[in-house]
Symmetry: C2
Subunit: 201 residues, 2 copies
DNA sequence: TCCGCGGCATGACACCTGTCATGGCCGAGT
DNA sequence: ACTCGGCCATGACAGGTGTCATGCCGCGGA
């Protein structure tokens, strides 16, 4: 029996995934949580063999939860599952100690397959995504540029961003300008979009 | 037996939902498709009692598919299912002839419940969302304002938008200004975000 | 018929943005 | 000690942006 922990904020898909995994004779879902914060306590309580974590979750996201879980319970194999096949996510998931990475576009068998494979000690990564991840490369943005770009995410003015980060407006403009240059965008909005697509935020 | 058609572009969640619904003794998933275009042909082939359509799909989205399906096969009850509980989606789904609206945050039982209820001729709508929908109201944007705002979606300049819509730059600025005023935003980026959240695009 | 509203356009103006030059500060690697 | 890169800041400038006044056209309702 492979003991599985399931983390996804959308109750409907979490329940559906549990039902699907439950159909497999050698898989048992021993815990379900809906946020990153609940992952570690639930894992310590139920000691699962495999943890299936969604990236998009309120509060602590799946990547942060994966890192935390990997440090505290190295025996628990982590599979990261996400809606968006963004190259940056893959790289960050691997850096966080995940051994599997599954996209929600993939056929259902691939998930149960991934659970079995990581339980057997193998790594599971989509080859196409791995190639794209290497091609896109790591984020060229500095920490501060990322902060500023993230603060520009919801469309505030330079003054708003400067206030939020305790910076001068000129500095914010510089960071934005630099980020725009590095992403190849022509406006800050485009830069935010591109950086987000590449997982640089 | 309630015959169900399932439409969701994410193969994993589609399969998981099918597995979950398949566990119910009185429900049978007779068709699964991954895009809005496939909905009508599949429905005509399998004549389901209930169609469960995701809003976010490539090409023709769930709302367009719902309208098409409702016109062609009025006997088939449509339930719209979405990740985002945006008020505008609810209104547009109802206008498209849907009789059910389920958010993916909802508990799993609520989905099977919704399927049974709509099959019994009832409407299924989240009360909180319905209230918010009424409060937000219909879009105050004119058609052109919506077009311009949508064209501004990916962060191009005014000149880009003007080219894309064959308008003068001044006109684009006017429409944007008007849209910014109506949404209560202060920049075009914020206006795009707000309008999107409210389902005005 | 006239009026009002929406789409389209022009021009002007204040303000915001993106870019650049310049300089100071600090920590890391040579 | 020195250099280099990242961070922060200031100031200046061209060009983009948001707003307003004004006008024309076409359409549907009073």
């Amino acid at each position: 029996m492979i003991r599985v922990l399931l983390a996804d904020d959308q109750a409907l898909v979490r329940g559906a995934l549990a039902a699907m995994l439950g159909l497999e004779p050698d898989i048992e879902v021993v815990a379900q949580v809906s946020s990153g914060e609940e992952v570690l306590p639930a894992a310590q309580r139920t000691s699962p063999d495999v943890a299936l974590l969604d990236v998009q979750m309120p509060g602590k996201d799946g990547l942060a939860a994966a890192a935390e879980l990997h440090r505290a319970l190295p025996a628990c194999r982590v599979v990261v599952c996400t809606t968006f096949g963004r190259p940056g996510y893959l790289a960050r998931a691997m850096a966080a100690g995940a051994v599997g990475f599954v996209v929600k576009d993939a056929p259902p068998e691939q998930l149960v397959d991934a659970v079995r494979r990581v339980h057997a000690g193998l790594r599971v990564v989509d080859p196409a995504l791995a190639a794209e991840s290497l091609a896109t490369g790591a984020s060229p943005l500095t920490d501060r540029e990322r902060d500023v770009l993230w603060a520009a995410h919801d469309g505030g003015t330079v003054a708003d961003i400067a206030r939020a980060l305790n910076l001068s407006e000129g500095t914010v403009r510089n960071h934005l300008s630099s980020a725009i240059g590095k992403t190849g965008a022509r406006t800050r909005a485009e830069a935010v979009r591109l950086a987000e697509d590449r997982g640089w935020l």
